[in-house]
Structures are given as structure tokens and as C-alpha cells.
């Protein structure tokens, strides 16, 4: 167990294993996402209440779920940075923060465009929407804070603290539709219950959710490798990799 933990913290080990797995993440993710989107757009039945605008769900729900998951992952990595000083955890936070920002923006954008035909407005200051907007700002804050501090170690600690403080926002997003009376509909997927929609709707949705998560995995691998290469430029294995292409 401890040996595994130690290995996990080694940038060289991660570089090797992520090089092997990344192509599979990309292929699998693309296949699932494209299948889910095409199925959802062309083959899933029309919603009796919302008509065809509901087809936005096949990208809105995946992005919204991933936006929150990425933040939880970043906060967990923040704990690892603070407690065990593991370099790789900090590499992860820095590599995925911009991805989180883009994904959160997509969730907000698709939500706003879906809101127009469904609620009659692009935006309202309701609990779910506002807490998602705060999540967007948190991602922006993490990126800005990291860029503002030159020293690598202090930047890592400051960023870790910020991600941990921001994590209170996650349960607020999650339960906002239950705690407050909002325009936003309740969760589509719950772990404890069967989905309230027919299988022709939730199966493609599930596929696109899984696909987007896999693509995120690929993005995280590629971006973490970039960060590792920059940091470990002086180590022998990076030199070997750059000259021979092998890890």
C-alpha cells in the first residue's frame, strides 16, 4: 500500500503509465461521446413537455457533472499536497484547472441556451445558477493565484488552500435544487433511484457522461505530462525520453 502510494507520487512512473493509458482514454471517450450525442440528437424520442430543446441535456448534464467532479478531484489533490507534499498532486491541480474552467463555462452556456426556450429567460439569479457561476470564478481564482505566485512551493500551498475553501460550494450546488425553490429541475441521475426518464433517453445520456469523463482523463494525462516535462527538465529520465522517446 505505502509502496504503491510512493510510486504514485513519482512523476517518472506516472509519465510512463499515462503514456500507455492515454490513447485508450481518448479512443474510448470519443466513441462513447459521439455515440451518446448522435443517439441523443437523432434517435432519442422527443420530450412531451420541453419538445426538442431537451436534447441539450446530452451535453449539459455531462459538463455540469464533470465541472463539479473536477473541482472535488482538485480539492482532494489539495489535501494530498498539504498533508503529504506530493508533487504530483500539485501538478494535477495546475494541469486540470483550465479544463475545469472551460467545462464549467460550457455547463453554464448550454444551461442558459436551454433556459431560453424552456423558462423564457437566459439567466436568473437562482441558487443553482448562481452557485455554478461561483464555481466558474473559483476555477478562475485558482488559475490566477497560481500564476501570481512565482515560488513553486508557496504557489502549491496557496492553491491547495483555495481549492479546499472553495469545496463548500459543491454541496451548495448539489442540494440547491432541493433546499431552495428554483427554476432548475432536480437531478437527472441519482445513485439510489432509477432514472425517471425512459431508457431511450437515459442510456445515451449515460454514454455521453462516461465519454466526457474519459476525455477528461486523457486531457489530464496530456496536460500533466506537459507540466512534468517543464518541472523535471533537469532529471536524467526526461533527457532520455526527449532524445530516445522512451520512458
Amino acid at each position: 500500500m505505502w509502496q504503491f502510494f510512493h510510486k504514485l507520487g513519482s512523476p517518472k512512473w506516472f509519465f510512463g503509465i499515462s503514456t500507455r493509458f492515454a490513447p485508450w482514454f481518448l479512443t474510448g471517450g470519443m466513441l462513447l461521446l459521439v455515440t451518446g450525442a448522435v443517439w441523443g440528437l437523432a434517435f432519442a424520442p422527443t420530450d412531451y413537455l420541453q419538445g426538442d430543446s431537451y436534447r441539450i441535456i446530452f451535453i449539459h448534464v455531462p459538463t455540469a457533472m464533470l465541472a463539479q467532479s473536477v473541482y472535488i478531484m482538485m480539492a482532494s489533490a489539495g489535501v494530498v499536497t498539504l498533508v503529504w507534499r506530493m508533487k504530483l498532486a500539485d501538478v494535477f491541480v495546475k494541469a486540470v484547472a483550465p479544463v475545469g474552467l472551460v467545462i464549467t463555462f460550457l455547463a453554464l452556456f448550454t444551461g442558459a441556451v436551454w433556459g431560453k426556450p424552456t423558462w423564457g429567460t437566459w439567466w436568473i439569479w437562482d441558487a443553482r445558477l448562481t452557485s455554478m457561476l461561483i464555481l466558474l470564478f473559483l476555477y478562475g481564482g485558482v488559475i490566477a493565484l497560481d500564476r501570481a505566485i512565482n515560488d513553486e512551493k508557496s504557489a502549491a500551498r496557496a492553491v491547495a488552500v483555495l481549492t479546499l475553501v472553495g469545496v463548500v460550494n459543491i454541496p451548495i450546488i448539489k442540494y440547491s435544487v432541493e433546499w431552495w425553490n428554483t427554476l432548475h429541475q432536480p437531478a437527472t441521475f441519482k445513485l439510489t433511484e432509477k432514472p425517471s426518464m425512459p431508457a431511450e433517453m437515459w442510456v445515451p445520456l449515460l454514454l455521453s457522461v462516461l465519454g466526457l469523463y474519459l476525455i477528461f482523463g486523457w486531457l489530464a494525462c496530456v496536460r500533466m505530462q506537459t507540466e512534468i516535462l517543464c518541472r523535471e527538465q533537469r532529471s536524467r529520465w526526461v533527457k532520455e525520453f526527449v532524445t530516445t522517446g522512451r520512458v
Binding site: A42, F43, D52, F109, W114, L219, T226, V242, T243
Partner: protein, 90 residues
């Protein structure tokens, strides 16, 4: 298929502009992010390579200047590190 024709598929009973703009935005941003990530990884490898080449060149140059006797050997057997390879940025 939930639609009778391609035009019905594009129009989506008047909801087409909303649905398609969402998917377009999603596609464009994801593509930009993926291409950007791959490119910055390539750029990082390239900058490492240039750093090593520079270092190798400098070390080699130093040895020629400092020891004139060994310089002949250095000249007769140029190291592989001296060879510059043109690699395009794309």
C-alpha cells in the same frame, strides 16, 4: 430516428438554433482545448530538446578551448550532440 426528414432534424420544431448552438459551442471549445493541450506538450518536449542541445554545445566548446592537445581529438570525432536537426514547430 425521431425525425421525418433532414430539414426537420435541423429545425427541431423551432428549437434548432438553441440545440445546434449548444452543440457547436461544445464541439469548438473541446477541440480548441484538446489541440492546445497536445501542442503545449509538443512545445515542452521541444524546449527540453533545445535546452539539452545548447548545454551539449556549450560543454563541447569549453573542452576545445581549455585543452588544446585534446582539441584535435575533439575535432576528429565530432559528437552526435552537435548535429542540429531542423524540427518544424507544427
Amino acid at each position: 430516428m425521431a425525425f421525418d426528414s433532414f430539414s426537420a432534424f435541423m429545425a427541431m420544431e423551432g428549437h434548432g438554433p438553441y440545440v445546434w448552438s449548444c452543440y457547436a459551442m461544445f464541439f469548438v471549445l473541446m477541440m480548441v482545448m484538446m489541440v492546445w493541450s497536445v501542442r503545449s506538450r509538443k512545445a515542452a518536449i521541444e524546449s527540453c530538446r533545445r535546452g539539452y542541445e545548447f548545454q551539449a554545445g556549450k560543454l563541447h566548446g569549453d573542452s576545445i578551448e581549455s585543452s588544446s592537445e585534446k582539441s584535435k581529438v575533439a575535432y576528429s570525432a565530432p559528437s552526435a550532440a552537435f548535429e542540429r536537426v531542423d524540427v518544424s514547430q507544427d
